[in-house]
Symmetry: C2
Subunit: 99 residues, 2 copies
């Protein structure tokens, strides 16, 4: 398998209502329809199996790092970050790596 993977994990703040978290998932899962560079995209709320976990994860796969950069900088993606992520964000951990 070749490609380039973006992994990001979030911990939410006290403003992260269920409605806001649902709205975010809805907006994120619409991104593959708007940004054709996304080859695979899976987001999810933490399942609650382990104590100390963060709250939410996004794993997105691309053909290469240039395709990832298109996603990272895409105005539709930036709008989701500004309107739906930033207001509820406490902590963020990210890695991109070659597949």
């Amino acid at each position: 398998m070749a490609g380039f993977r973006h992994v990001v994990i979030f911990r939410w703040n006290e403003n992260a209502t269920d409605e806001r978290k649902r709205d975010l998932v809805e907006r994120l899962t619409a991104l593959p329809g708007a940004i054709p560079e996304i080859e695979d995209y899976h987001v999810g709320d933490d399942a609650g199996v382990n104590a100390g976990n963060f709250d939410f994860a996004v794993v997105a796969d691309f053909a290469d790092r240039d395709a990832y950069a298109v996603y990272r900088d895409h105005p539709v993606h930036r709008a989701v970050i500004d309107e739906y992520v930033t207001p509820i964000l406490a902590e963020r951990a990210a890695v991109q790596y070659e597949l």
Copy 2:
């Protein structure tokens, strides 16, 4: 796609030499051969595209949360954590989610 995904991101400490990081990747990539519950397994060093990133990520897919728990608690996996992760670990962020 159904399944259960484990996502974990690490930041290494000052003891994380290139040799130790290489040894860790070697041990981790042997785990799918030892733990048949692992359906998909991709690890990688951060590509250095974005400032502020963590250093290393593991994304592992399983049939369900029980299969993930077998991996989490498997003695071969625990030995890799104890011997190769813990000595170089600064920070860890994890999420498990339903696919």
